[in-house]
Assembly symmetry: C2
Homo-oligomer: 258 residues x 2
């Protein structure tokens, strides 16, 4: 018996997850989004129906509703969908499972710990899929689905998931922002960002064999005042870059001199 699924949401995560499920033979019946174009853009890739009216979301024959909405959209969307007693699992790092109890009877969490962009394929096999469920029966079902799409399935409580999501902001969102700041520095100097790509790659690869503390290099760890002051002079026209430089430099120094 094949699994039938409906997606509530059509953003980056919904898109990559739905495509992966479809590729692995899970049937997706509907994609709901408040914006019909977005719903249909995803739906047509996975032979599903796109809908933008919550009343049109059909629970008939569905084994699993995947809720992949921005956290702040939950209250604007979920109360208007009739889930009946079907399993409803959200995909958010930061939302406690019990939030779903306001709009659904049978609930769980299906959180892939990864960064997703619509236009970028990602190797799903090695994505940790963090599950949580209100009952063993629901958990077993979510495990069954998760095992179809990844090799790394884990049970993680709402409390732990919250901490992982916070940690992920540091090692993904903030890291990517440093790449962006770095790009703004080289662009301003009329240099090509490409020259930094091997460094970016090695910085990430390094911590596969060294702890981040062992891997640390650069002027901040030595507190090389001469270099640090030269760098701050170079950043003199950009208050924001300067603040980031100063705070992270002092944070590195603190960590290595505790």
């Amino acid at each position: 018996m094949s699994i039938q699924c409906t997606f509530i949401g059509s953003g980056n995560l919904a898109t990559r997850l739905a495509l992966r499920m479809f590729e692995k033979g899970i049937a997706i019946k509907q994609v709901y989004s408040r914006n019909l174009d977005n719903a249909e853009a995803l739906a047509k890739q996975i032979k599903a129906e796109g809908v933008s009216d919550p009343a049109k979301v059909n629970k008939q024959g569905i084994d699993l509703f995947i809720v992949a909405l921005a956290d702040k959209a939950y209250d604007e969307v979920l109360p208007y969908i009739d889930f009946g007693d079907k399993i409803v699992a959200h995909t958010a790092g930061s939302v406690p499972m019990k939030k779903l109890a306001e709009s659904a009877n049978t609930i769980g969490v299906f959180y892939p710990l990864q960064t997703f962009s619509k236009g970028r394929m990602v190797d799903f096999n090695e994505i940790p899929l963090c599950l949580e469920a209100e009952s063993d029966e629901v958990l077993r079902f979510l495990e069954k689905v998760a095992n179809i799409i990844t090799d790394d399935v884990r049970v993680v409580s709402s409390e732990d998931r919250k901490q992982l999501h916070l940690a992920a902001v540091f090692c993904c969102n903030f890291v990517n922002h440093l790449y962006a700041l770095c790009e703004s520095i080289v662009n301003k100097a009329d240099l090509n960002f490409d020259i930094l790509r091997p460094l970016i790659k090695e910085t990430a690869s390094k911590i596969e064999t060294l702890s981040p503390k062992e891997a640390q290099t650069g002027p901040a760890i030595r507190y090389d005042k001469n270099i640090i002051n030269n760098h701050l002079d170079l950043l003199d026209e950009d208050e924001n870059l300067k603040n980031v430089y100063e705070l992270l430099t002092s944070s590195i120094f603190k960590l290595h001199n505790q």
Copy 2:
């Protein structure tokens, strides 16, 4: 005719570069370090002599002195070495070439744009080697050496090198520090850092196909106040983490709403 080289310095960069040169058939005659144990630890791996007395550095038969010292050590070491008219090239991102003119007659720069740790092998073929020289003749010699050890040889002025080094601090040193802060969050919550490795890897890989601005995800770009405040609550006991979180969140928001 084989090239003969002597290293002034035995740190992370000196170690990886000397090992690479040795592997590629360049003879290393001596390794100087203020600490004899450090000099000998590297020297014995590359059939060289370790010395800690600047007067024992022998220019006889040497084609190239590589200066790989911490920036602040230049003045404490270089004036005490007799380089004669031999080529002396430093490996620092942040030191202008002309600094060497205080202690040497024939000068250049040989700067590998990469992060090095003693215990970690790195793929030298794809490291950008940034060269600068006071004359075409010296530049041609440095190019000859550089081409032996990498496929990516570039001529970069002192001014541009300074900007690249600053950019490298953001995308390497600061990025690695965010990994360290991330590790401190998961450790404190008694979780395993390993669960974040696929995310760290994908965050770096993503910008091979997307610009950092396109690749940005997370609560800060949406300015999701609810999540941001929850995260700040979780960080309440750690002033430093909280400051980093607030500054980078506002920096992301600014960049995407300029």
